[in-house]
C-alpha cells in the first residue's frame, strides 16, 4: 500500500447507487449475419433502448433505484444532476421533470451536463464538492450509423447518491485536460463519429486517462477494481496496460461486453459493477475519458450493493430488424391530424398525477379520486382533495393488446417501433386504504403475457412526442 490517506468515517462519497439497463439486447452475432465487418471488439451484445426510453427515463429509473437503496430521505436531496450526451432534444429543460418524477423537493438545485463524454465525471465531481445529499444520474443512448459506429452503441444509466458518511467514500481524484478535437463527435441531429485516425484518438484518450491517474497517490497495485473508458470491451484493457493494471482488476468494471458503448454512462455503469464486487478494504478506480480526449480519475474505497445490476446479464434478445425498428432507424411513424388533442398547458397541469400517481382523498367521505379533480366520485361533493400518492405497485384488473395500426395516432410512431403493446387498467392502493384504477400501458413485457391479476410496478416512460416535445408518464412493468 502506497502512502495514501485512507478515508475516515464521515467522509463524502457514494452512499447508494442504482443502475438501469434497457431490456432489449442485440447480440453481435446477429449483426454479423448482416454486415461483413462488425466493429465491436469484445462486445457480445448491445443494449437497445425500448421504444419508450430516452436519457431522461433511463436516468429516472436508475435514480429511483439509487434513492430506494439510500437510507436517507429523498426530500433532503439538495442537488440533482443529469449527465448525458443524448438529451431528448438539442435544447431542452430536464431538471424539473427529473425532480418531479423522483419526488425531490422543488428547491433542489438541478443541472444538466451534456455534449461531452466526461459529463458523468463532471456530475460526480460536483456532487462530491457539494454540501448535502447530491443525486447524480448518468444516462446515455448514443446513436450512430448502423453500418459503422452504430454497431457497437448500447445504452444504460447509473445513478449515485453522493453524501457524507458514505458507504464508498472518495479517496482521491484528479483531472487531465486534452484538446484533441474530433476524437468523438456528433453533429446536431446526426450520427456519432470518430475521425478514424486510431493513433490520434487512442493517444488522446490514453493520455487523458493515464495522466489523470498518474496524478493520484494511489498506485496500480492498490486497486482491486477499475471501471475504465469503454467504447468497446477491448479499450479498457489497452488503457489498463498503460497504467499497469491487471486484467482481472479491469474485468470488475467492464460492462461494455454486455451493453456496448453506453456513452457517458459506460464508466458509471462499470463503477457500479466494480463497487458491487468490492470488499470493505478494496479500492476502485473510475477512469473517464472525454470527447476531446482528456480524462478524470476517481478512487473510492469499499463497496456497496447496487440495485438493478442483475439486468446487466438479463434482458431479452431481439432480432436485428427489431433493433433497427426500436431505435427508429426504419423511419418515423408520426401521424398528422386533428381531433382529441391534449394541449401541453393542460398536460402540464396533470404532471404530478402522471409522474407520481398523485390521487386525491376526499375530506368529506374519505373516497379516492384519480385524477384528483372534479367532484368526489364517491360522494359527488365538490371538495378540495387531500393529495394521496398511490403505491407504485399494483394489480392488473383489465388488459388488452393493441395490434399494429390500432393505437391512437399519438402512439403511431411508438407502435411502429415497439409493435403490438398491452394496455389496460391497474389497481393501486392509496395510503390509508382504498384503491384507484389507472389506465396505463404495459412495457418491457411480451404484450400477450399480461393477465388479469398480475402484479405490476410503475415506471417512468416517454409516452409520445407531439410538437417535437416528449411527453412522459407512468407505464407498468411486471413486478
Amino acid at each position: 500500500m502506497s502512502g495514501i490517506d485512507r478515508p475516515a468515517a464521515g467522509d463524502r462519497g457514494i452512499a447508494a447507487a442504482g443502475v438501469h439497463v434497457p431490456r432489449p439486447r442485440l447480440p453481435t452475432a446477429a449483426q454479423r449475419e448482416v454486415w461483413d465487418a462488425v466493429r465491436a471488439p469484445g462486445i457480445e451484445s448491445v443494449a437497445i433502448p425500448a421504444a419508450d426510453e430516452d436519457a431522461l427515463t433511463m436516468a429516472v429509473a436508475a435514480a429511483e433505484r439509487a434513492l430506494g437503496a439510500w437510507d436517507g430521505d429523498r426530500a433532503d436531496v439538495a442537488s440533482a444532476t443529469l449527465a448525458t450526451t443524448t438529451p431528448p432534444s438539442a435544447e431542452v429543460g430536464l431538471g424539473g421533470r427529473l425532480a418531479l418524477a423522483l419526488a425531490l423537493d422543488d428547491g433542489v438545485a438541478t443541472a444538466v451536463l451534456s455534449t461531452d463524454l466526461l459529463a458523468g465525471a463532471s456530475a460526480l465531481d460536483r456532487a462530491l464538492d457539494a454540501s448535502g445529499p447530491a443525486l447524480v444520474a448518468v444516462a446515455d443512448a448514443p446513436v450512430g450509423d448502423p453500418g459503422a459506429d452504430g454497431q457497437r452503441l448500447g445504452a444504460g444509466a447509473a445513478a449515485f447518491v453522493v453524501a457524507d458518511d458514505a458507504a464508498a467514500p472518495l479517496v482521491e481524484r484528479a483531472w487531465k485536460t486534452e484538446s484533441n478535437p474530433g476524437v468523438r463527435h456528433r453533429p446536431s441531429g446526426g450520427d456519432l463519429t470518430g475521425l478514424g485516425v486510431n493513433r490520434y484518438e487512442r493517444g488522446a484518450v490514453g493520455t487523458g486517462v493515464g495522466r489523470a491517474f498518474d496524478r493520484l497517490d494511489v498506485a496500480a497495485d492498490d486497486l482491486a477494481g477499475a471501471a475504465l473508458h469503454q467504447p468497446h470491451a477491448g479499450a479498457p484493457y489497452r488503457l489498463a496496460r498503460a497504467i499497469g493494471l491487471e486484467p482481472d482488476v479491469v474485468a470488475r468494471g467492464l460492462v461494455a461486453d454486455r451493453l456496448g458503448d453506453a456513452g457517458a454512462a459506460g464508466v458509471p455503469l462499470g463503477l457500479c459493477a466494480a463497487l458491487a464486487a468490492a470488499g470493505p478494504g478494496d479500492l476502485t478506480l473510475a477512469g473517464f475519458a472525454g470527447s476531446e480526449g482528456g480524462g478524470a480519475a476517481f478512487v473510492l474505497a469499499g463497496g456497496l450493493a447496487v440495485a438493478g445490476l442483475d439486468a446487466l446479464d438479463g434482458g431479452v434478445e431481439v432480432a436485428y430488424p427489431t433493433a433497427l425498428r426500436l431505435r427508429g432507424d426504419l423511419g418515423d411513424g408520426s401521424v398528422s391530424g386533428g381531433g382529441a388533442y391534449v394541449s401541453l398547458p393542460s398536460w402540464q397541469r396533470s404532471l404530478p398525477y402522471r409522474y407520481r400517481l398523485v390521487a386525491g382523498r376526499c375530506p368529506s367521505c374519505g373516497g379516492l379520486a384519480f385524477p384528483p379533480e372534479g367532484a368526489c366520485p364517491s360522494c359527488a361533493e365538490r371538495v378540495a382533495f387531500e393529495p394521496a400518492e398511490l403505491s407504485r405497485e399494483g394489480t392488473v384488473v383489465a388488459v388488452t393488446v393493441i395490434g399494429e395500426g390500432g393505437a391512437p395516432p399519438e402512439f403511431a410512431d411508438y407502435q411502429r417501433r415497439a409493435g403490438p403493446f398491452a394496455t389496460g387498467l391497474v389497481e393501486c392502493g392509496a395510503p390509508g386504504g382504498g384503491t384507484v384504477r389507472l389506465p396505463a400501458m404495459f412495457t418491457d413485457v411480451d404484450p400477450g403475457a399480461v393477465e388479469i391479476g398480475d402484479p405490476v410496478r410503475a415506471v417512468f416512460r416517454r409516452l409520445f412526442v407531439q410538437e417535437d416535445v416528449a411527453r412522459y408518464g407512468t407505464k407498468f412493468v411486471p413486478a
Binding site: 393493441i402 393505437a407 400501458m441
Partner: protein, 389 residues
C-alpha cells in the same frame, strides 16, 4: 302530459359514400321519412329539430344542424345539434319527444348524420378517439376497441364468456343485416369467419367490431292530434330514459356492466310502465360484440353473466322470444355515429308496423338502446304499437 308518437321514419343507405355530404345524406333520409307518412303533413307543422352529429373529420362542426334543416327546405326552423358521441341520435330523439310531450310543438324532427369515410386513414385515426376519455384513457394508448376489449376480457374472466359468444353476435347480426338493403355490410358470415378474423384488440377481432359508416336518419315525432289527422298507425313512444356515466372506464365501479345503460333503462321502463319481460324485440348498441352482450344484462334481458347463453340458446334470434338487432345492428347495418340512434328508431318504426326486412311476429313493444362512447351517455326508448295485443 300529451303522448308522443313516431309518425314517420327514414334512413339513407348506410355505407361508404365518400362523395356524398352530410347534407345530401340527410336529405335522402328526410325524403324517405316523408315518404313513410300515412297522410299529408304540412312541413310548417314541424316546430323544432334535434339532430345528432359528432362531426368526424372536423368539417362543419359548428352550426351543422341549421345547415341541414335549411338544406332540406325547413327555413327558419329552430334547430339544435346534439352531440353525445355515438349516442347523439338517441339523445336527439329524447329531446324531440320532450318537446312534443311538453306541448310546445305538434311535430318535432329528430335525426342524425355523419360522414366518416371521406378522409384518409391518418385523419380517421385522430377522429375515432375523440369520444373516449382523452386525457387518460387515450394516453394509455387505448382506442374504443381497446376499451371494449378490456370490458370483454373482464366479462370473460368474471363469467366465462367466450370468444365464440362474441362471434355469435356477429353471425346473428350479419344474418339479419343481409336482409336489409340499407345495411353497410349486408352479407352473412359464418361462425368460422367470425372466430378467425384478424385481431384488433385482444380478444376482439375484426368481426367483433362495427365499421365506420356514412349515413343519416330522420324521424318525425308528433302528438296525438297529428296522428289522428294523418290517420297514422299509432307507434307510441311509451317511455324514454337517458343517463350519463363516467366517460372513462377506469372511473367506473364496474368493468362488466355499463352503469349509464342501467340508469337509462330504469328511467325508460318506469316512464313506459313496462319491463324487459314485456318487450317483443330490441335494437341494441352493438358497436363491439361485447357491447351487445353487456346490453342484454344491463337492460334486464337476463341476469349478469348470462348474456352468452341467452345468445347461444337462440333467444335473441329473429324467431326467439326477444329478437335483437333485426336491422343488422351497428355491426352489419353500420354505425354512422350521429345517425345511429334515430336509425334504430327507423327499424322499430317499421317493425311495429309490420314492415321489417326481418319481421318479428306481431310485436307490441320494442326498445332502442344507444350508447355514447363506452358508456358516458346512454339513451333507451320503449315503443308501443297501440292497439296491438
Amino acid at each position: 302530459m300529451p303522448d308522443a308518437y313516431v309518425v314517420a321514419a327514414g334512413q339513407s343507405p348506410f355505407g361508404s359514400f365518400p362523395t356524398e355530404t352530410y347534407l345530401s345524406l340527410f336529405e335522402t333520409a328526410f325524403e324517405r321519412a316523408l315518404d313513410s307518412l300515412d297522410g299529408p303533413l304540412d312541413p310548417d307543422r314541424i316546430g323544432a329539430a334535434y339532430l345528432g352529429n359528432l362531426g368526424v373529420g372536423g368539417r362543419q362542426i359548428g352550426l351543422s344542424g341549421p345547415a341541414v334543416t335549411e338544406y332540406v327546405g325547413l327555413p327558419g326552423l329552430p334547430t339544435t345539434r346534439v352531440e353525445n358521441a355515438c349516442g347523439a341520435g338517441g339523445y336527439a330523439f329524447h329531446e324531440a319527444v320532450q318537446a312534443v310531450r311538453g306541448g310546445g310543438v305538434d311535430v318535432a324532427l329528430a335525426g342524425g348524420y355523419e360522414v366518416m369515410t371521406d378522409t384518409g386513414s391518418d385523419q380517421t385515426r385522430w377522429w375515432l378517439g375523440v369520444s373516449g376519455e382523452t386525457a387518460w384513457e387515450r394516453m394509455a394508448g387505448t382506442t374504443f376497441a381497446g376499451v371494449y376489449a378490456q370490458m370483454a376480457g373482464a366479462h370473460m374472466a368474471a363469467y366465462g364468456t367466450t370468444v365464440e359468444d362474441l362471434s355469435r353476435v356477429a353471425v346473428k347480426n350479419h344474418a339479419n343485416g343481409a336482409e336489409n338493403p340499407n345495411a353497410h355490410l349486408g352479407f352473412t358470415c359464418t361462425l368460422e369467419d367470425a372466430m378467425d378474423a384478424p385481431m384488433v384488440a385482444d380478444p376482439l377481432n375484426l368481426y367483433h367490431c362495427c365499421p365506420t359508416t356514412d349515413g343519416a336518419s330522420a324521424v318525425l315525432v308528433a302528438n296525438e292530434a297529428v296522428v289522428a289527422e294523418l290517420g297514422a298507425v299509432p307507434v307510441r313512444v311509451a317511455g324514454t330514459g337517458v343517463a350519463s356515466g363516467r366517460v372513462g372506464l377506469f372511473q367506473r365501479s364496474s368493468l362488466t356492466s355499463i352503469p349509464a345503460t342501467k340508469r337509462a333503462a330504469e328511467r325508460a321502463y318506469a316512464d313506459a310502465g313496462v319491463g324487459p319481460d314485456d318487450l317483443d324485440f330490441a335494437e341494441v348498441h352493438d358497436c363491439f360484440a361485447i357491447a351487445e352482450l353487456l346490453a342484454y344484462e344491463d337492460l334486464g334481458f337476463c341476469e349478469p353473466g348470462e348474456a352468452g347463453s341467452l345468445l347461444r340458446e337462440g333467444r335473441t334470434d329473429p324467431d326467439g322470444d326477444l329478437p335483437v338487432n333485426t336491422s343488422g345492428g351497428l355491426k352489419s347495418k353500420g354505425h354512422p355515429i350521429g345517425a345511429t340512434g334515430t336509425g334504430q328508431v327507423v327499424e322499430v318504426f317499421h317493425q311495429l308496423r309490420g314492415e321489417g326486412h326481418v319481421q318479428v311476429d306481431d310485436p307490441r313493444y320494442g326498445l332502442t338502446h344507444n350508447v355514447g362512447g363506452s358508456g358516458g351517455g346512454v339513451a333507451v326508448h320503449v315503443f308501443e304499437r297501440e292497439g296491438a295485443a
